[in-house]
C-alpha cells in the first residue's frame, strides 16, 4: 500500500515550489483547509495562482496568504468585500483576478478532472465574463467556450480519511472539496480523523482514494467573520 499519511503539516507542504497553481476548498467558513494554509504560510511559497471561491476573511483562510504576499493571481467567483488583504493588493494592482461564475468554476475544474478540453455554456453570454471567449450559436442559443482549470495541488478539508485516502465530508463543509480533489495533480488532505482501511463503508465514500495523494490528521480550524 502506498504510504500517504504525513507526520506533520509542514511535511505535507514541504516540497511545494514557487509559482504553482493551487486549489483551495471551502465556502462560507465551512470546509476550509486552514491547517494546510497555515503550513504553506509558514513555508512562504510565493507567486501562487490560487483557485478558490473567495479570497478569505480578514486574517483567516486565504487572507493569511494575501497578507504574506504569497499569491499573484486568483481565479474566484466571489472574492468578498471582507477579504481586505486581497482587496488592498487588487487595488494596488499587485494581484490579478479572473472572475468566474461559481457553477462554471466548478465545471471548469470538473472538465480538468475528466480529461475534457472544455464545454459550451449560455452562462455569462453578453457579460464581461464572455470577453475574449469563442462564441457560437448552438440549438438556437448563444454560447461561449469555457476551458478547463487545472492545478498542480489541491488543498482539501475532509471529515474522515482512511489510510488509503477514501474521504467523507461533514454537512455543507463538502462544497468545493470533492471537485478540487479530482482536478489537481496532487491532492493534499487535512482530515479531522484518520481511520483504518475498510473502516469507511464503501457506499459512504464521497471522494475515492485514487484522487488523494497525501493525508494529514488535523483538528479543523475555523475563523469568524
Amino acid at each position: 500500500m502506498k504510504q500517504k499519511i504525513c507526520a506533520t503539516l509542514d511535511e505535507a507542504v514541504a516540497d511545494i515550489p514557487d509559482g504553482v497553481r493551487i486549489m483551495f476548498g471551502g465556502f462560507g467558513g465551512a470546509g476550509f483547509p486552514n491547517n494546510l494554509i497555515q503550513a504553506l504560510a509558514r513555508k512562504g511559497t510565493k507567486n501562487i495562482t490560487a483557485i478558490s471561491n473567495n479570497c478569505g476573511t480578514r486574517e483567516g483562510e486565504l487572507g493569511l496568504m494575501f497578507k504574506n504576499n504569497q499569491i499573484k493571481h486568483v481565479i474566484a467567483s466571489f472574492p468578498g468585500p471582507h477579504s481586505n488583504h486581497f482587496q488592498e493588493l487588487f487595488a494596488a494592482k499587485k494581484v490579478t483576478l479572473e472572475l468566474v461564475p461559481q457553477g462554471i468554476l466548478c465545471e471548469r475544474m470538473r472538465a480538468a478532472a475528466a480529461g475534457l478540453q472544455g464545454f459550451y455554456t449560455t452562462v455569462g453570454v453578453g457579460t464581461e465574463v464572455a470577453d475574449g471567449k469563442e462564441e457560437r450559436v448552438m440549438d438556437g442559443k448563444r454560447c461561449i467556450l469555457e476551458k478547463p482549470i487545472h492545478a498542480d495541488y489541491a488543498f482539501i478539508k475532509a471529515q474522515k480519511a482512511d489510510e488509503l485516502g477514501n474521504l467523507t465530508y461533514r454537512l455543507a463543509a463538502r462544497n468545493f472539496n470533492p471537485i478540487m480533489a479530482m482536478a489537481a495533480k496532487m491532492t493534499i488532505v487535512e482530515a479531522e480523523e484518520i481511520v483504518s482501511v475498510g473502516a469507511i463503508d464503501p457506499e459512504n465514500v464521497i471522494t475515492p482514494a485514487i484522487f488523494v495523494h497525501r493525508i494529514i490528521q488535523a483538528k479543523g480550524l475555523r475563523y469568524a467573520g
Binding site: 470546509g31 471561491n53 482587496q87 457553477g103 462554471i104 452562462v123 463538502r174 468545493f176
Partner: protein, 224 residues
C-alpha cells in the same frame, strides 16, 4: 407623488412569496429575496436550495443550535427540514444551471424591457466585485423573479430600456416584484400585472424607464 407610500423591503418579500408554488424547489439570492422565507403561506412546503450544497434548508439556527458546517450562502447557520440533502458545489449549480430549480429569486440593480438583468456590480464601485452564483442561476432557473426597489435612491428608474450596469444575464427575468408593482416580462413587452396599494398604472409608468403594457384596470397587490 414622492410622498406616496411604497412597499417596505419586507412587503416586497411578502408579495414575492405569493409567487412560490407548493412543493417548489427554490433558490433565494442576497438582499430582499433572502427575506422571502419568513413570509411563506402557511399551507405550502417549499424546498430551499443553497448553492453550497443543501436542498431543504429550514429556518436560521437559534443561538445554541448553530453548526458552522451547516451554513447558507450568506454564511449563516441554518436548520434543515425533513427530506433535506447535501451534495457538492458542482451538483448544486447543476441544479441551478440545468433547469432543475422551479423558481429562483434574485436582487437587481437594473432589469431591461427584454428581461436582461444587471445585479452584480455598480459601475465605479470600489473593490473587485463578485459574481458568485448569480450568472448560473440567471441562465438556468425555470422561473426567475427579481425583487428590487422600483427606483434608485436618487429616483432613477431601475426598470430600463437597456441596462447600463454590467450584465448578469440576457433575457432571463420572468417577473419583477418592486415596491410599486408586479411586472411580467413577456415577448411583447413588460406587462403590468399589479400596482402597490394607492398607486395607479400612470404613476408607476412615470417612474419606469421602459414602456409598460397596462391592459384595463390594474389590480392592487394583496398584502396580508
Amino acid at each position: 407623488m414622492p410622498d406616496k407610500l411604497r412597499l417596505t423591503r419586507e412587503q416586497i418579500a411578502q408579495r414575492a412569496a405569493q409567487e412560490l408554488p407548493d412543493g417548489a424547489y427554490v433558490n433565494l439570492g442576497w438582499g430582499i429575496p433572502n427575506l422571502i422565507a419568513d413570509y411563506l403561506p402557511k399551507d405550502i412546503t417549499v424546498y430551499f436550495h443553497s448553492e453550497n450544497g443543501i436542498l431543504g434548508m429550514g429556518r436560521r439556527a437559534k443561538p445554541g443550535e448553530e453548526d458552522f458546517d451547516q451554513v447558507d450562502a450568506m454564511k449563516v447557520p441554518v436548520t434543515l427540514i425533513s427530506g433535506a440533502s447535501f451534495f457538492h458545489q458542482a451538483d448544486a449549480h447543476l441544479m441551478t444551471r440545468g433547469g432543475h430549480l422551479d423558481v429562483a429569486v434574485l436582487g437587481g440593480f437594473q432589469v431591461s424591457e427584454k428581461g436582461d438583468l444587471a445585479n452584480w456590480k455598480i459601475p465605479g464601485a470600489k473593490g473587485s466585485g463578485g459574481i458568485g452564483g448569480a450568472m448560473d442561476i440567471a441562465a438556468g432557473a425555470k422561473t426567475l423573479i427579481v425583487c428590487m426597489e422600483h427606483t434608485t435612491k436618487e429616483g432613477a428608474p431601475k426598470i430600463v430600456k437597456q441596462c447600463t450596469y454590467p450584465l448578469t444575464g440576457l433575457n432571463c427575468v420572468d417577473t419583477i416584484v418592486t415596491d410599486l408593482a408586479v411586472i411580467d416580462v413577456k415577448p411583447e413587452g413588460l406587462l403590468l400585472r399589479e400596482v402597490a396599494p394607492g398607486w395607479t398604472a400612470v404613476e408607476v409608468q412615470k417612474l419606469t424607464g421602459a414602456e409598460l403594457i397596462a391592459k384595463g384596470q390594474i389590480p392592487e397587490m394583496h398584502l396580508v
